[in-house]
């Protein structure tokens, strides 16, 4: 699966990327983590409040860093 982290590079975006990586590893998924930093591309997802996470192009949540456990729920 393709996990996309949307954010222009603020500290929260890095935190979310790290948590998503950890969640995916703990679930034993085969995944590809992509950071989307271009603002126009982020808009293409319809996201205005960063950071946000999308799985296979579908936005799961935006505007928060929800913690590893909650990210796992979105990855399953």
């Amino acid at each position: 699966m393709k996990i996309q982290i949307l954010g222009t590079g603020c500290p929260k975006c890095h935190k979310l990327a790290a948590e998503a990586e950890q969640a995916a590893k703990e679930l034993g998924l085969t995944y590809e983590l992509v950071k989307v930093t271009d603002i126009n591309e982020i808009m293409g997802f319809g996201v205005m409040i960063t950071p946000a996470m999308a799985v296979d192009g579908k936005v799961k949540f935006s505007g928060k860093v929800p913690g590893v456990e909650e990210i796992k729920k979105h990855l399953k």
């Binding site: 500290p11 929260k12 126009n40 808009m43 293409g44 319809g46 996201v47 409040i49 935006s62 505007g63």
Partner: protein
């Protein structure tokens, strides 16, 4: 040669650091004095502003981030929003939406491409950084209430003018709206609006009354409030405690314990209210940070702000202190230079200040100590406001991002409008208060 390809950066760094150390102007009076000034200034900030002013402000900003639904504001800035209302909301919503500077640009391009369009987006971009809670509180506290109020209202008023001008300039261009749906975080409401409002009000009043300045005369309403400020502050602190227990699920014994310790310390050291205030804040910190639910979220959001902003701010204070010195003292840069460039209230001084502000990058809130230094060195009140208005709204890096969103023509127009309107506001303000 490969060796140097890898190493030239480190080598250059070492050489530069060495040269700086070699020629370090220790011993020259101006340099030694500037170092002292930097430490004096950072000490003054730590003593006067961190505990009573910044820490409560961090808690408020954290609460806004956790408990205020951004989606509820954004619906007024959506594609089908009422156009007149959208300008008003865009101009003031920075208070709620823009608590962190890195959120401004995505929101701006979102409003432009998916929402209410160019005008409201520009209004939001201009006023957002100036009217977030931390910026207002710190500006009013350090630079004085006039500049604080002028900054907040100037930003709101001018943002509408700039938004409308942008809309009129480019009204013929059809904007290709992205078909994407706005993806908004889900918001769940647990409390009624008035309950949340009371919660915010209790914190804002703690902040206001704990920082109540000593008035000039010893009589009248202001003086009576000043005399009773700690009693009033305690009253609102108790209110906050009751609210947290009643509506936020804080255990009653935790609130009571905190209140008891704070009251006891206040009674033992009546001349040092800071001790009791710190004890209360510590209690709040301990009991919110160990909470698993929304109180824990509140704390971690507040703590994230503190972690992000405090180092930048104190770093900015040290640099400003070294370069400009405290009020009435001189740092590395001679005061006559400052007074010559941005002293008084001429058109040139105001334009220069707003132009510098537009291009320079200010890390979150560092514009405040820098301005304090500049004003102390002879900058006029008008140019100070011009810089405050144009500064945080724009910087060279943010212009580059705006350019990828708006294109070069609109970006140039926006930057010019920001510079001109900010200078104009400076002239008007300087004429009254200069």
């Amino acid at each position: 040669m490969n060796y140097w390809k890898q190493e030239w950066k480190s080598f250059l760094t070492i050489t530069v650091v060495f040269l700086i150390c070699y020629y370090l102007p220790v011993g020259t009076p101006r340099f030694d004095n500037a170092v002292l000034e930097a430490f004096h200034l950072v000490k003054w900030y730590a003593q006067e502003h961190v505990l009573l002013c910044l820490i409560p402000a961090f808690f408020i900003a954290g609460a806004i981030g956790v408990f205020v639904s951004q989606a509820s504001v954004m619906k007024y800035l959506g594609a089908r929003a009422n156009k007149v209302l959208a300008y008003g909301v865009a101009a003031v919503s920075g208070t709620i939406l823009a608590v962190c500077s890195c959120t401004i640009l995505p929101l701006f391009s979102g409003i432009y491409k998916m929402g209410a369009g160019l005008g409201p987006a520009c209004a939001f971009l201009y006023s957002g950084p100036a009217i977030n809670v931390l910026a207002i509180v710190l500006t009013a506290r350090i630079l004085g209430p006039e500049l604080g109020i002028a900054r907040a209202f100037g930003a709101i008023f001018l943002s509408i003018l700039i938004g409308l001008s942008m809309h009129l300039l480019f009204r013929k261009e059809e904007e290709a709206k992205i078909a994407a749906q706005m993806a908004m975080p889900e918001s769940e409401t647990k409390r009624a609006l008035w309950q949340d409002s009371l919660y915010f009000a209790s914190m804002v009043f703690i902040l206001v009354f704990a920082n109540w300045g000593k008035p000039q005369s010893s009589e009248g309403l202001w003086a009576s409030i000043y005399a009773a400020k700690w009693a009033i502050t305690s009253g609102f602190a108790i209110l906050l405690g009751v609210i947290l227990v009643a509506w936020f699920g804080l255990k009653a014994w935790k609130a009571a314990l905190t209140a008891l310790i704070a009251a006891a310390l206040g009674y033992m050291y009546p001349a040092e209210p800071l001790i009791a205030f710190t004890a209360g804040t510590l209690g709040l910190t301990i009991f919110t940070s160990t909470d698993e639910g929304e109180l824990g979220d509140w704390f971690s959001s507040s703590y994230d702000f503190a972690k992000q902003i405090l180092p930048l701010l104190l770093g900015g204070v040290i640099v400003a202190g070294a370069l400009l010195g405290r009020v009435g003292y001189e740092g590395l840069i001679p005061s006559e230079w400052i007074a010559g460039m941005v002293g008084g209230n001429s058109l040139a001084a105001n334009l220069f200040a707003s132009l510098i502000g537009a291009f320079m990058y200010f890390a979150t809130l560092t514009e405040v100590p820098i301005l304090q230094g500049l004003i102390g060195s002879g900058m006029g009140k008008g140019p100070a406001l011009a810089l405050l208005l144009a500064g945080p709204a724009l910087s060279l890096p943010s212009m580059l991002v705006i350019n990828t969103v708006l294109g070069i023509r609109k970006t140039v127009a926006f930057v010019s409008l920001v510079v001109l309107f900010s200078a104009f506001a400076g002239i008007v303000f300087g004429a009254f208060y200069g």
